[in-house]
Amino acid sequence: MTARRLDKGGRIDRSAPVDFTWDGKTLSGYAGDTLASALMANGERVLGRSFKYHRSRGIMSAGVEESGAIVTVGEGARREPNVKATVQELYGGLCASGQNSWPNVRFDLGAVSGLFSRFFAAGFYYKTFMGLPPFEWGHGTGLWMQYEKLIRKAAGMGTASREPDPDCYDHVHAFCDVLVVGSGPAGLQAALTAAQAGRDVLLVEQDFELGGDYLNDPGAEMQRLELINAVKGAGVRVMIRTTAFGLYDHGVAGLLEKVTDHLANLDPQMPRQRFWTVRAGATILATGALERSFAFENNDHPGVMTAAAARVYLNRYGILPGQKIVISTTNDSVYAAAAELAAAGADVIVADFREEAGVGLPDGVTILNGVAPLKVLGRSGVKRVDLAKHTNGSWVPAGKETCDLLLVSGGWSPVVNLSSHRGAKPVWNASQACFLPGTTSEPIFHAGSSAGIWDREDCEVAGQRAARQAIGENKKSSQPGGWKTPIRPLYEVRLPNQQTKAFVDFQHDVTGDDVRLANQEGFVSVEHLKRYTTLGMATDQGKMGNIIGLALMADALGKDIPDVGTTRFRPPYTPVAIGALAGRNVAAHFKPLRRTPLHDWNLRHGATMTEAGLWHRPWYFARNGEGIDEAYVREAATVRKSVGICDVSSLGKIAVQGPDAAEFLNRVYSNGFAKLPVGKARYGIMLRDDGMVMDDGTTWRLADTEFLTTTTTTNAGKVMVRFEELLQTRWPDLKVHVSSVSDQWAGVSIAGPKSRETIAACLEHGADISNEALPFMGVSRVTLSGGVEALIARISFSGELAYELYVQAGYGDAMMDLLWHAAETRGGCLYGLEALGTLRIEKGHVTGAELDGRVTIDDTGLGKMASTKKPFIGSSLRQRPELLREDRPQLVGIFPKDRSQRFKGGSLLCDADTVTGFGEGWVTGVTHSPALGHWIGIGYISGGAEAWKERPAVAADPVRSGNVDVEIVSPHMFDPTGERMHG
């Protein structure tokens, strides 16, 4: 291929030269070039190395179907592999390099004598490394892990940057009546017709210019400009550099808009790309068709490309891609290109596989009929093509032609991908030798060559008709066709019994022989063929190769193409960067951060925070260089000795109000709530329908018809949803209103022997929270000094005399200032989640780690709480025989046998004699207990503490800290009678 830039012609701006680098060399192109056209104009032929065999590859097309010129663009954090040079716009300073090669694409050691060739026949990975499951499960897996790295190095697809993506991406939502995909003759007409009918139309085009096939025809420029003006004048919203990559349910389309990928100077205000979610009333697919090749020896050499691509390089980029050109065709579509190339000064031979071509002979073009390429010769370029003809059922050589460029048209494949996303199964049309779009009941309409319509004027009419259909007028769609002489289908040229490197899927290096090998080995389903050979699984998703592969498979099976079937296309049509999918949901925005109303106050007072679900909560409050271990032990000890204050605002809080509120709670909770007096709180456990524990918490009766229910932090949302479901779907007769008030209250727990006097010091003069006025589980309204109204409940999670105090969220800081002053003067402390855990483990109180959805109320040891006098949710199914077995794992406390030892959460509890398998139970939490002076744990074990009184147990943790002999004890490890909290 001796391509050269012509002095005139094309759509490039010769007054605006653009410098860029290719493999470190500085080259020059023009504004309006793609990277591929600029490289071609600079005489660069070998632009890539193939995936498996490291064969030289050059430019094969001029669009998204490119399988040869796949390069890496950008440097450092912006390095992006697998960019198709044919769609990358050129800009000043663009830095591109070849990939899959070392040291460079022109001299690649991996390619020496096809070094890896025999390793890469179909199914090589599976046969060699994966074993034969299930009989040899795991066999070879270790080997695979080793070899995979080497193979990937030899046969890679470029390497992505390992640095964080420096760019940002946006998510945008949009609506329209009619979405038109593609701005060629059919798309522009469709958009215009729909807009003129008053519809809100969105037109998207993946190219950087509007016009589709008009752009390849200098004679159509006036028509193109007029049409674009009309479209814009009719109010159509137009987006270029925007690919509709997928269609989804209910008229939703996914678009990727490339905003800055073509710019030399990035605007920091602009996202790199935008990910659009468009909801369209109807969708018109004017997505065009892709010209395909067929298989013959060395059909992947640089200097072999599609005939349409040559026309694009000539008419858009002003390049004559070869001087001595052979055009091989099976259909009419190459004749315009042949004439234009000849007029531009090339010697052109058309080798038309049909015995007669019905299109007029262009001047200066030689025609050979009935022949097709058998083999291409030349190493890093084309030097000669050997031809063959098909007689009496087999191919025989039929002459040779010297040339520097071979253009191939094996036919056209309509882009039916998007409607296939919606389940419209493409239908094989034998007379057009292509799959046409299938039917769907959804308002999706194909127009133009994506519907197998080949003539431009027919495409324009088809666009108008599709628009009429999309807006609900009952118009017939256009019929496919338009060749003057029918296509003569051709998928492979090879002499009988000859093995060759004739490629079907260029990007994944799948050959015709691979397809036949797969068939020999029994892979007769197209889906199996695809996976076994990896045909159509590269970044182009088989845009060029799928149909050739299918045809060869059909031939091997002795079937027709439609009987072999086609695989369903899936989004995305072209690759979408992960960054675009993520949008702004990265780093701190990956998930929402929930802060309690006391967040800043906690930080000001030395809190180290930890994540608890979405919440940030104080973990511990270190003093004087303490680490976490010293800090939490001190905090827990201080609570038991004097007083501690802990932010519990993250607990879920639900206001349950209405005349039937008590009845509602009585049904929801396993224990009785109907007779809970006003001014009292009760701890409750609610079950799921299946009888397992769902959540626990306290509920305070504030008035006859008003309750405040607290939930665990984790289940706040789930419980609220459950309440709404029950009230709306199951018990609609109950007059109850529920509202989430979690964020409305700042809540704090004050625990320890000095908690009462600490709080008393913070109340308005005369307030009474004595044991008589506010007994255990009592609830009351109080006023803090300074006039802030508060709710107080005498509730203990720590086992100490303890209270929860709630004020309106905005008064949280004021409450904390008061409390902390009073607590500090009494030797108190602030405590965090870690000490909270210590205190509750000492008492054997359950949290989310214990209520993991697999336990019954009996397993937790709280079965006696469940009412026997009333039915409640789960009361029936908790009686299932398996749930009543006495050997079910039950909640226990765990001490190390040697009290100086420690063990870890997550250990399995085993019988000391059989430390194996799943064991007899598990450890849900451990802590160092300052009250007991050693490490303790909480967990579940078969049969509970009674069953293990005499039985030695082991906390097994073989991969981390090893096994520790333990004693199984009652979960109530500290103050089992509860004297302290009633005091």
């Binding site: 989804y248 349910d249 209910h250 008229g251 939703v252 979610t277 909801r279 009941s441 049904r667 329908d689 299946d690 949803v721 709404e724 479901e725 709306q728 779907t729 199951r730 609609p732 039915p871 409640f872 949710i873 009361s875 029936s876 199914l877 009686q879 299932r880």
Partner: protein, 98 residues
């Protein structure tokens, strides 16, 4: 992405909703035998075609809805409030409007 016409909020993306379950289940009385509860909780048809199901407009009006959806095509056939009283009000409104 399917879209659900919420009777209270209009047509919204399904990402605003959470799927509940089979909308045809009649839950037994709380004190019904465990066999009845077993059937209601564990036995489900695997419907291919139109199915009545509950959805919760959790990031919207927080209403539970009864949605007739085709499990094969995702076509939404009808949507009404799961609360029978509210559903009846909607029907009366529609009749009055007609």
């Amino acid at each position: 992405m399917i879209r659900i016409p919420c009777p209270f909020c209009g047509t919204r993306d399904h990402s605003e909703f959470t799927y509940g379950g089979d909308g045809t289940i009649e839950y037994p009385a709380l004190d019904a035998p465990k066999e009845d509860w077993h059937d209601a909780v564990f036995l489900r048809d695997n419907v291919c075609g139109m199915q009545l199901e509950t959805w919760h407009h959790v990031h919207g009006c927080r209403m539970w809805l009864l949605v007739e959806r085709d499990t094969l095509t995702h076509e939404i056939h009808s949507v009404r409030p799961a609360h029978p009283g509210l559903a009846a009000m909607f029907e009366t409104d529609q009749e009055a409007g007609e």
